[in-house]
Symmetry: C2
Subunit: 259 residues, 2 copies
């Protein structure tokens, strides 16, 4: 890239997702949150650059949060903010920021409004405690709020709650250009395509071209995905890719696009 291009390039915003929970690491639960957040962030121009799945262990959570909140523009955590003994995320985030965990009056009011009179016991009231200085994030489903402190957004692990919270906050995130994509599949082997594909990537250094083989029943082939922020360049590269596949004797099929 030429120096003046770099100087003029709009800022890109990146994010790291932390999935906090033994249930993913034990294989008991298949994560659904990463794919949802990846797509949702992209739609507001934020690139998901890393995901970490870590256990419900205080020292690990604190050190990981402190590492990634300095390395990325945004950090989104899921999991560990309920009322039970294994819900330690709020305390760990407070520790990471070296602040106290405090009873948030608005969170207390939300919980008292959600549960029947007298049902907000000590365990449930734990969900009204957030790190000092945190801003509440809405939970339209079960009310116990997530929160944001600095660039760290702390959300529930239950997919329905996490998604509802994220959908309420996503349009307030500051992002850059949206990543657009085109995909083309064919039944050629990757090894047949590789040389031409590498040459195409070399001509389009501003785009990211990925090659993903698939095996479905007796069917196999490869999906090529081209991503970038410049629509005319993306479309031009897609046409060149389809021509390459045809020249090699393949049958290109355009698949899902994002724009």
């Amino acid at each position: 890239m030429m120096p003046n291009e770099a100087a003029n390039a709009p800022k890109t915003y990146n994010a790291c997702v932390l999935i906090i929970g033994n249930e993913i690491l034990s294989g008991r639960v298949q994560d659904e949150n990463v794919a949802f957040l990846a797509k949702g962030l992209n739609e507001v121009g934020v690139r998901l650059k890393e995901v970490r799945v870590i256990p419900d262990d205080s020292a690990t959570i604190v050190s990981t949060v402190n590492e990634v909140r300095r390395a990325f523009d945004y950090v989104f955590t899921t999991g560990g903010i309920g009322p039970t003994h294994d819900d330690i995320t709020a305390q760990c985030i407070a520790d990471a920021f070296a602040v106290k965990l405090i009873l948030h009056p608005e969170a207390k009011r939300l919980l008292e409004g959600h549960y029947p009179q007298g049902a907000v016991n000590e365990a449930r009231m734990r969900m009204a405690y957030v790190p000092d200085g945190a801003v509440l994030l809405p939970n339209p489903i079960s009310r116990a709020p997530g929160f944001r402190i600095g660039n760290v957004y702390v959300m529930a692990g239950v997919p329905q709650i996490m998604q509802a919270t994220f959908n309420e906050l996503r349009h307030r995130l500051k992002g850059g250009a949206k990543m657009l994509s085109r995909s083309v599949s064919c039944s050629l082997g990757e090894g047949v395509l590789a040389k031409g594909l590498g040459e195409l990537q070399a001509r389009y250094g501003d785009l990211e071209i990925g090659s993903y083989p698939y095996f479905r029943r007796a069917d196999f082939g490869v999906t090529l995905v081209i991503r970038g922020t410049d629509r005319p360049r993306l479309l031009a590269a897609t046409e060149e890719l389809k021509a390459l596949i045809l020249a090699l004797g393949g049958d290109p099929h355009e698949g899902a696009s994002e724009d």
Copy 2:
């Protein structure tokens, strides 16, 4: 834990999984490899302690591999060992270990045996290059092998190939005691159970008790998962948990167990 208990405790073996691939971070593909590896590792007594999903970016791959191979007993990577320009994992692993990438004679022979005469072009032959000192890992599906160097096991990202490779190597991994588990579900709220559950966890410090709320259609409830290596303790805690649920007016259902 008493000092003599710690001294007598058998060694536990832990692992980190690195998912290398832009397609997971873009949300285009839902990862399936983590849950498979988590379960498979547990069956041979290895605990999955962390997962990272990182992009096809050399500097990120090299630094991450060097960080995690020192922090965990085992590292398993998936993705980026095919024939196309975006397959950079083998070179990055070589860089991380500060060794050269070399043509492995056995890998070359495997590829030449798999493809028709003359079809092993330059791109496909890239798959026969491994870091100097690496040992090949079998790929019963498409032959292009994975490899192991030090404590790092490098496998394909395509789930069918990764699974076939892992199934061939898993019983050669050195592991400790298998983690056993019991799960019990009920329709009580987490906040109702939390106090008793915390007390149960305090009495069974050698077990790990997790609480996972669920929402399915109009149905909601919580699944409690108890994990540990000592079967009698696990069964005793499970009975206490069921009694707790009954005492609180709930209806305990035993779910999946692993033993």
